[in-house]
Subunit: 265 residues, 2 copies
Amino acid sequence: MIPTPTFSASRLDESPPDEPARNGAPAFSPLYQQIKALILRSLRAGEWQPGEAIPSELEFAARFRVSQGPVRKAIDELAAENLLLRRQGKGTFVATHAERQVQYRFLRLIPNDGDPNSEVPAQRKIIDCRRLRSSAETARALELRTGDAVLQVRRVLSFDGQATILEDLWLPGGPFKGLTAERLSADQGPMYALFEAEFGVRMVRAEEKIRAVLPDATQSALLHVDPGTPLLSVERIAFTYDNHAIELRRGLYRTDHHYYRNVLS
Amino acid sequence: MIPTPTFSASRLDESPPDEPARNGAPAFSPLYQQIKALILRSLRAGEWQPGEAIPSELEFAARFRVSQGPVRKAIDELAAENLLLRRQGKGTFVATHAERQVQYRFLRLIPNDGDPNSEVPAQRKIIDCRRLRSSAETARALELRTGDAVLQVRRVLSFDGQATILEDLWLPGGPFKGLTAERLSADQGPMYALFEAEFGVRMVRAEEKIRAVLPDATQSALLHVDPGTPLLSVERIAFTYDNHAIELRRGLYRTDHHYYRNVLS
DNA sequence: CAGTGGTCTAGACCACTGG
DNA sequence: CAGTGGTCTAGACCACTGC
């Protein structure tokens, strides 16, 4: 293809424009952003499975009729967002929660003494898993309508034999049809890896709201702590592609032998 | 300069190599990494002040006798680490804590209702500021020797008239010689901005350990809360260039009207 | 208008992986 | 060895800022 001298709109149009820049501005979009959007669409459509390699940079360049540069920059950004994983000499792969390296990618609880990178051989115990109608609050968080079907899961994570985390999860009933306590209990490895493999749901980003709270009677019993013990309340909303909320999670963390680690920059 | 056909070691050497790759591997270091290290050295040396513009990409390219590409990539990485700030059409600037946009860059406490980006017009009150000899624990955190001079500061931050954060800070006596309660109290704006302007200390990165705790009598009095109120304990170590620890901070956060926000990816 | 950062091309070569 | 990502060059043009 002969390089178009200007590209203020796009050279890659394959579908009706989603956002045709309704305001006065022409909304300049560089080539690499358009390429990024196309790759993102393929990811969302499940064109490649988690852990699989995507086409090489040169392959994309040929397909899109551009040079390697913009393709590289598009992939760079997706890798920076942890959607893709580059491995020199091997290829670029769809990120997954199922790898040894990045297991428990979203868990920030670190043992007081152990090093931050140590293994996290949690012991998991499913307390409950039931289907119910969502409350207004849950519906809002999960972008559903009040009363829509949701799955609620309760579990306890133990470290070194000591119950440390009590978690309640809410998942939309649709995407997670067929999820049962048995299925969850049988599984080894991170829950998010199971979500990828069994339900095609890939957790990509999450936001957490953290507070200090006291447990109620049920909670303190499940964690084997005194009702006066302060605990970390960690409320998480996890997102798939396109910032679509797909999980609500409320955790209670004991912080007598662990701490929640965060890095600021 | 005639481009050297290979550059497995370096083309930019200006000083004895710090880490001459003692092991068998040649320790390949791309041009842009060497450029990044040089810019970093200038930053550390205070060659440009916070808020000032650094030389343009083309200027660096000419100075280092390379093309724009590697310079660009070096600056890209420094900008991604929040050491520099790019502004199209204007230039690249040394990051600062003194800008309206990024005020309280390291404060993650958000009001329950207000939007996450809202202003943070905290009211600050210095309770105490004294010079003392560091404990073993403080010395370890600040990379000092036990007994070295340190400054200890205690302050309370209020939001909307309500005392919300009680903080204790420890700073190495050397770099912060001359810091007084009066100087701190007189200042408007973020404390880190004052550190930049008055002491040339630039906070670049920080790590926080978060736990849920109960306050002691003194703490609960200062925050006007019941001794049984669970609080967030936020222990921060802040670093300047080269991962050099320069501040230890222990905060107690009320989380009845605020939450600590974190994003995972 | 000049100067800055931002994008793109075409082509070369290097480093790493695995058959 | 071929294929992949990673680095570099030389040069062109675009978008944004401010004089």
